[in-house]
C-alpha cells in the first residue's frame, strides 16, 4: 500500500474544510438544542417567612409567605390562624401570580386620551396625582358641597374600608356606596327576623343535615376555606356521624356535585320548596315546640294592639304551601317533599341554608326567609350546628371627630340613589341606584368618585349604565392593582399594593362566628411598584385639606392607626393571640369557666405577639345569648309572615312566565373566578369548571331537552339575547341544569384585568334588565328572560381552535 504526497494534500484540503465546517456547525447545533433549556434559575438566598392575610376574597385567611432572597416564592396557610388553620384555597395559592402579575399598574396614572384603553394613561408622580385630587376636594368643600364626593367601596375586611368611612364622615359626605353583594339578602333576612345586621354564620361542623336552598356553599361563600373546613368536619370529622347535604336548585354546581342529593327545582322556587317542607313540619307537628314558644313570635295567629286577628306562620303555610301546590310550582314530587321534611326533622341537628349565591349575586330575600323559617321550626337559631351571629370585634374606636359645619351640612343631605321605601326600610344605596341617579341628574351632582376595592363597571347588575354614569362625573379616581374595567374609564388610577406589600388589620370575615383580628405584614421589604394604600392616600389627602378634616387622622400613618385599633383588643380583656389547637381549647375552657388568662401583659406585648402569630381571636362563642342575637322589638325571632305573603305572589308570577318561550338566565360564580376576580390569573382561567372541563371562556349550560327544542347542539356557539343586549357563549348540553334554564358563569368578559382576562369570555351581567327584588329592593340577578339561538362560528381564537 502506497500513500503519496497528493493524498496528503487532498487530506489537508479536506481537513481544513472539515474544521471550518464542523466547529461552527457544532456550536450552532448545540445552541439551537440548548434553547430548549429554561432560562430561569430559581433564586438563592436566605429563607424567611412573613405572616399576612389573604385579600383575594373577603375570606380573611391567614397566610404565611415563604421568602427566599427577597422574593416571595410560596404562599401557605398560617397554621395558627383560626379561619384556615394552615389551609389555603386555590385563589390564595394563586395570589403570587397577582403579586408578580406583569400588567400591574406601576405608578399613579392620569388619563390623557380616550377612555377605555390603558394606552390613554400617562404615568405621573404621586405628588402630581394627590395634588390634583386634593385641589378638587378642596374646591368641593370651599363651595360648601362636600356631599358631591362619593366613595364606592367593596373588598376585604381590612382597614381601608374603615379609613374610607372615616374620611367621608370628616369630609362631610353621606355617599358611601357599598358594593358588597355577599350576604346582602341574607343580612336583610337576619334583620327582619332577628333584628341584627349580620351575615348568618352557619355552624356546619356541628350539624347533621343541611338543606341548601340554592346556596353556592362550596364555591362563593364569604370565607371559602372556613366553610370547607366546616364541610370536612360535617362529612367525616366525627366518628359514626356523616352529615347529609341536600342541594335544592335549578343548577348542579360544584356544591351540588358534592351534595348527597340534588333536588332540581324550577328556577326561583327554592324558597317555595323550603316553605313546602316547613308546611309539612307544621302540619305533622315536627317542629321544636319549646323553642317556638320561648324564642319566636308569629307562628300561631296573632292579635295586634287593636285586637285584630292577624294570620300566623302556620296559617300562611297551611293556606299557601300545601303539598300539591308546592309540588306544582317547583316540579318536585310530593313524595320527595315529604321525605325531605321527615329527614330534616329526624336529624339531631338540621340546618337550612339560604341562597348564598356568590360574592356578586345577592340571592333572593324570599328564599333566605324561607330558610330562616325552617331553622326556627327546628329550633336551630344560635345553637351548636345552627345559625350563629358573629361576635363583635372590640377594636378601639377612633376618637370623635371635631365639629365642622361644612361636614355637618353635607352629611344631612340624602344619599344619592337612596332606594329605601316604606316597604323596604332597610335598604340603603347601591351601585345600580347610584348609577341611575347620576345618569338621571339626581337631586345634586356628584363631582368626584373614588372607587375602592371594587370594579362596578364590570360587576354590577348594569355595567353599561355604570360606565355611562362614570362619564358624567368630572373626576373619577380608581384605586386598583391591575387596570380593571372601571380604571380604564376613570380619570386617575392610583395603584394599590398587593396584600403582601402592606400592613393591614382585618376583622372577622363575614360568616365566621367568633371575634377575630388578623394582622397583615408586608412580605416584601419594598413594594415592586410605586404604590400606596387607600388608607395612606386618604390620610394624605385629609392632611392636605387641613383642619378640621386633617384632625380625623393622627399623623402616625397607617401603622400607627393599626396599633391604635389593637389597643381596644387589649382593653377588652378576653381572647388570646392565635395559637395551636391546644391553646384554643385552653382559652375556650377557661373562658367558659369565667376566667381570662391573657398570654400578654401589655398592649405592646399583644402587638408583638400578634405579629408573630398572625393576630388575636376569641375562640369562645356564647350560645344562647339572646339579647345579642335577637334584637327585635318583641325580643324574639319574628316569623316574616307579611313579607312572605307579599313575596309569594311575585314568586308565582315568575314561575308561570318561565314555562313559555324564553329561557330563564341562571348566573353562578365558579370558585376560581368568584367575586369577579381570578380571571386575571392564568392558573385560575385554566380550571374554571373541572366537571365540564371548561376553561378560558364563557360557556352556557342547557338541558338536553331544552337544547333539542331550540335547536342547539353540544359545543356549539350560541347567542344569548335579553331585552338589553346579547352575548355569545359556548353551549354545553348537560343535565346539570333543569329544563328551561340557561346557566352562565359570572366573572369573565372583562375589558381590563391584564393580558389574561381582557377579552376572554363574556360578561353575562350585561344581560340583566335592571329588575329589582320586589321584596328587598336590591337588584335581582335571577330570572332574566333570554332567548337562545345558534350563533354559527365565533371570533375568539381559543374558541375557534377548540371548535376545530
Amino acid at each position: 500500500m502506497k500513500i503519496e504526497r497528493r493524498h496528503f494534500i487532498g487530506m489537508a484540503v479536506g481537513a481544513t474544510a472539515g474544521v471550518a465546517f464542523g466547529t461552527p456547525a457544532a456550536r450552532i447545533v448545540t445552541d439551537v438544542l440548548s434553547s430548549a433549556d429554561s432560562p430561569y434559575f430559581p433564586p438563592k438566598g436566605r429563607e424567611g417567612f412573613a405572616l399576612s392575610v389573604c385579600a383575594m376574597c373577603p375570606g380573611g385567611c391567614g397566610v404565611r409567605a415563604r421568602r427566599i432572597g427577597g422574593r416571595v416564592v410560596k404562599l401557605e396557610g398560617n397554621p395558627l390562624h383560626p379561619v384556615n388553620a394552615g389551609r389555603l384555597c386555590l385563589k390564595g395559592q394563586a395570589a403570587l401570580q397577582a403579586l408578580y402579575h406583569p400588567d400591574r399598574i406601576p405608578g399613579p396614572m392620569r388619563r390623557v386620551g380616550e377612555r377605555g384603553k390603558i394606552e390613554s394613561f400617562k404615568r405621573v408622580t404621586w405628588d402630581e396625582a394627590l395634588g390634583a385630587v386634593g385641589a378638587q376636594l378642596k374646591g368641593l368643600r370651599e363651595k360648601g358641597h362636600p356631599e358631591s364626593l362619593a366613595i364606592l367601596a367593596g373588598g376585604t375586611t381590612g382597614v381601608d374600608r374603615r379609613t374610607a368611612r372615616r374620611f367621608l364622615r370628616a369630609f362631610g359626605s353621606p355617599n358611601e356606596i357599598p358594593i358588597d353583594r355577599w350576604g346582602a339578602a341574607a343580612t336583610l333576612a337576619m334583620q327582619m327576623g332577628q333584628g341584627v345586621q349580620a351575615v348568618p354564620a352557619y355552624d356546619l361542623q356541628s350539624c347533621d343535615y343541611v338543606l341548601s336552598l340554592g346556596s353556592a356553599l362550596l364555591e362563593a361563600t364569604s370565607s371559602p376555606v372556613h366553610t370547607m373546613r366546616g364541610w370536612g368536619a360535617f362529612r367525616q370529622g366525627r366518628t359514626g356521624r356523616r352529615g347529609k347535604f341536600v342541594h335544592v336548585g335549578p343548577h348542579l354546581s360544584i356544591t351540588g356535585a358534592s351534595a348527597d342529593e340534588w333536588i332540581s327545582v324550577r328556577p326561583g322556587t327554592e324558597g317555595i320548596f323550603g316553605l313546602g317542607v316547613a308546611a309539612v313540619l307544621a302540619a305533622e307537628g315536627l317542629y321544636h315546640r319549646d323553642f317556638l314558644s320561648e324564642h319566636t313570635a308569629g307562628f300561631e295567629d296573632t292579635l295586634d294592639e287593636a285586637g285584630r286577628r292577624g294570620p300566623g306562620m302556620r296559617d300562611l303555610l297551611e293556606s299557601r304551601y300545601g303539598l300539591e301546590s308546592v309540588s306544582g310550582a317547583t316540579g318536585v314530587s310530593v313524595h320527595v317533599i315529604l321525605r325531605i321534611a321527615r329527614e330534616f326533622s329526624a336529624a339531631p341537628r338540621s340546618l337550612a341554608i339560604g341562597p348564598l349565591r356568590g360574592f356578586l349575586i345577592p340571592g333572593s330575600l324570599h328564599d333566605h326567609l324561607a330558610a330562616q323559617v325552617l331553622n326556627a321550626l327546628s329550633g336551630n337559631l344560635d345553637q351548636p350546628g345552627g345559625v350563629l351571629v358573629s361576635e363583635d370585634v372590640p377594636l378601639k374606636p377612633w376618637p370623635d371627630l371635631p365639629s365642622d359645619p361644612i361636614a355637618e351640612s353635607g352629611l344631612k343631605t340624602p344619599r344619592v340613589g337612596e332606594t329605601g321605601s316604606a316597604d323596604t326600610p332597610f335598604i340603603a344605596s347601591d351601585p345600580e341606584s347610584f348609577a341611575d341617579a347620576v345618569v338621571a341628574g339626581g337631586s345634586y351632582p356628584i363631582e368626584t368618585l373614588f372607587v375602592i376595592g371594587a370594579d362596578p363597571a364590570f360587576a354590577t347588575a348594569a355595567p353599561e349604565k355604570f360606565a355611562a354614569a362614570i362619564q358624567k362625573i368630572p373626576m373619577v379616581v380608581s384605586f386598583a392593582q391591575l387596570p380593571d374595567d372601571t380604571s380604564l374609564l376613570a380619570d386617575w388610577i392610583l395603584p394599590q399594593p398587593h396584600f403582601l406589600e402592606r400592613w393591614d388589620l382585618h376583622t372577622t370575615p363575614p360568616g365566621v362566628p367568633y371575634a377575630l383580628v388578623s394582622l397583615a405584614q408586608p412580605a416584601l421589604a419594598q413594594p415592586l411598584h410605586d404604590v400606596r394604600t387607600v388608607s395612606d392616600v386618604l390620610i394624605g389627602l385629609a392632611h392636605g385639606l387641613g383642619a378640621p378634616v386633617s384632625d380625623a387622622f393622627s399623623p402616625d400613618g397607617l401603622q400607627g392607626l393599626l396599633r391604635l385599633e389593637m389597643d381596644g383588643i387589649y382593653q377588652a380583656h378576653r381572647g388570646a393571640v392565635m395559637g395551636t389547637q391546644f391553646d384554643e381549647a385552653w382559652v375556650r375552657m377557661m373562658e367558659n369557666a369565667g376566667w381570662w388568662v391573657p398570654g400578654y401583659s401589655s398592649a405592646d406585648e399583644l402587638w408583638t405577639k400578634a405579629k408573630e402569630s398572625g393576630g388575636w381571636w376569641d375562640p369562645f362563642y356564647d350560645h344562647g345569648d339572646w339579647n345579642r342575637v335577637v334584637r327585635t322589638r318583641s325580643g324574639q325571632y319574628e316569623f316574616p309572615v307579611r313579607a312572605l305573603a307579599a313575596g309569594a305572589a311575585s314568586r308565582q308570577a315568575r314561575k308561570s312566565s318561565a314555562e313559555t318561550g324564553p329561557l330563564t338566565l341562571h348566573l353562578f360564580e365558579p370558585l376560581p373566578i368568584a367575586g369577579g376576580s381570578g380571571a386575571e390569573l392564568p392558573f385560575l382561567q385554566t380550571m374554571l369548571d373541572p366537571g365540564l372541563e371548561e376553561r378560558w371562556g364563557t360557556w352556557a349550560e342547557i338541558h338536553p331537552e331544552t337544547a333539542a327544542a331550540i335547536g342547539v347542539g353540544d359545543r356549539q356557539w350560541v347567542k344569548v339575547a335579553s331585552s338589553t343586549t346579547s352575548i355569545i357563549a359556548y353551549a354545553r348540553v348537560t343535565p346539570r341544569v333543569v329544563q328551561g334554564v340557561i346557566a352562565i358563569p359570572l366573572g369573565l368578559g372583562k375589558r381590563g384585568g391584564g393580558r389574561w382576562a381582557a377579552g376572554v369570555g363574556e360578561n353575562p351581567l350585561r344581560l340583566l334588565a335592571g329588575a329589582r327584588d320586589p321584596l328587598a329592593g336590591i337588584p335581582d340577578f335571577d330570572g332574566t328572560e333570554v332567548t337562545v339561538m345558534p350563533a354559527g362560528t365565533r371570533g375568539t381564537a381559543a374558541g375557534e381552535e377548540r371548535r376545530a
Binding site: 439551537v32 438544542l33 440548548s34 434553547s35 372541563e693
Partner: protein, 446 residues
Amino acid sequence: MEKFDLGEDARLLGPIRKTGRGFWLFAGSMLAIGLWGLFAWSTQLRNGLSVTGLNVPVYWGLYITNFVFFIGISHAGTLISAILRLANAEWRRSITRAAEVITVLVLFFGMGCVILDLGRPDRVLNVLKHGNFTSPLLWDVCAVTAYLTASTIYLFLPLIPDIAILRDHMPERRWFYRILAIGWTGTARQQKILNRAIAGMAVIVIPIAVSVHTVVSWVFAMTVQPMWHSTIFGPYFVVGAIFSGIAAIIIAMAIIRKAYHLEEYLKQIHFSNLALLLLVFTLLWFYFTFAEFLTTYYGAEPTHMSVFLSKTEGKFAPLFWTMVVTCFVIPFTLLANSRTRNTVWGCVVASISIEIGMWLERLLIVVPSLSNPRLPLTATTYFPSWVEWSMFAAFVSIFMLLYGLFTKLFPVVSIWEIREGREHSVKEVTERVESYLPGGEDGHDA
C-alpha cells in the same frame, strides 16, 4: 479486467448514462419539498413539539404512525427478495434490487420519525449511555439497527458485480465505482464467495425482518392500554408490514418501468406474481383484523369497548371504514379477479389503495387508544399540524429523491443476475423440475 459486451442489457445502463430534463424537474421538486421539511423541522427544533397537533392524552400521533408505516414498508424489499431468492423463484431476478433499495432507504426514514418525535433529540445518545433493556423501545433500536445493517449488506453484495460493470463501462465517476467495486473482477472464486454470502445473508435477513416488526408491535402491546395489549399484535404487524411492503414494490416497479421504459425487464408476469402474493396478504390482513376486533367486541371490556366504538362508530369511524375499504374491499375485488390482476393498472390501483389503507391502519392503532384514556380527562381532538404534514411530505419526497438518485448511480435491475439467469437458469430449472418428477434419481438433490 476485460470489457465484455453487455449486449441488449446495455439499455439497463441507460438511466445512468443519460439524464433527461424530466429527472431534474422531479429531483428539483422533491428537493424543494425536502427543504420545506427542513424548515418545518427547524421550527419544531426551535419551538418544541408544541408546533405539532399532539396533546394530552394523544401523546403520539403522525410521527409514530409514520414510524410504524415506514418500518412496515421496509419489509418490502429485503424480506421478499430473500424469500424469493431462497425459494429459487427465477422471476425474482429483475425485481429484487428495486425492492431491496426501498428497504434500506425507508429504514432511515423510519428511524428519522422516531428522532423527530423525541422531545429532546439532542439526548438521543442517552439510549446507548443509559439503555434500559426492559423497554421495548430499546429492543426496537436494536432490531432496527440490525435490520438496517443486514439489509445494507444484503443490498450491497449483489450490487458488487454490477458496480464492476459500471466501472468498466462508464467513463464518468469511475473513481467512485472503483472504490465501491472493491476489486471485483468476476473470477469464479469471487463469484462463488459472493453467491455464498448472498445466500447466507438471505437466511439471516428473514428472522431479523420478522423480529423488527414484531418488536415494533411490542412497543404498543407491552403496555396495558386498551386495544394495544394484544397477543396477536406481533404477527398482525408483520403481516401488515409485508402487505404494505409488497404494495410499495409494485408501485415502485410501475414507476421505474414507465419512467425508464423497462417493459422488457419488468413484465406483466412480475406484476401478476406479486399481485397473487398481495392477494394472499389481503386475506391474511383481513383475517387478523377480524380476529383482533372480534375478540375485543366479544370480551366487551368497557375500556376496550370505548376504543372499539370510537373506531367503529365514533369519531374515528370514517377513517376506520375507509381503511376497511382500501385495505380489503378494493384490493380484494381487483386482485381476486384475474382480469384486473393481470393488468399493471389493476395491480397499481390495488397497491395504492393498500398503502393508504395501511397508513390509516397504523394511525388507527396509535391514536384512538390514546384518545380514550381509562380515567376521565379533558379530551381534545388530535389533528396533525402543518409541521407534521410537512415532515411527512418531506420524508416521502426525500425518499423518492434518494430512490431516484440510486437509479441514476446504479442499475435498478440487476444486470449480472439477469445475465446469469439467461445463461444458467433454463438448464437449472429444467434440472430442478425434473428432480421433482417421479422417476428421477433417488437421493440426489437438485
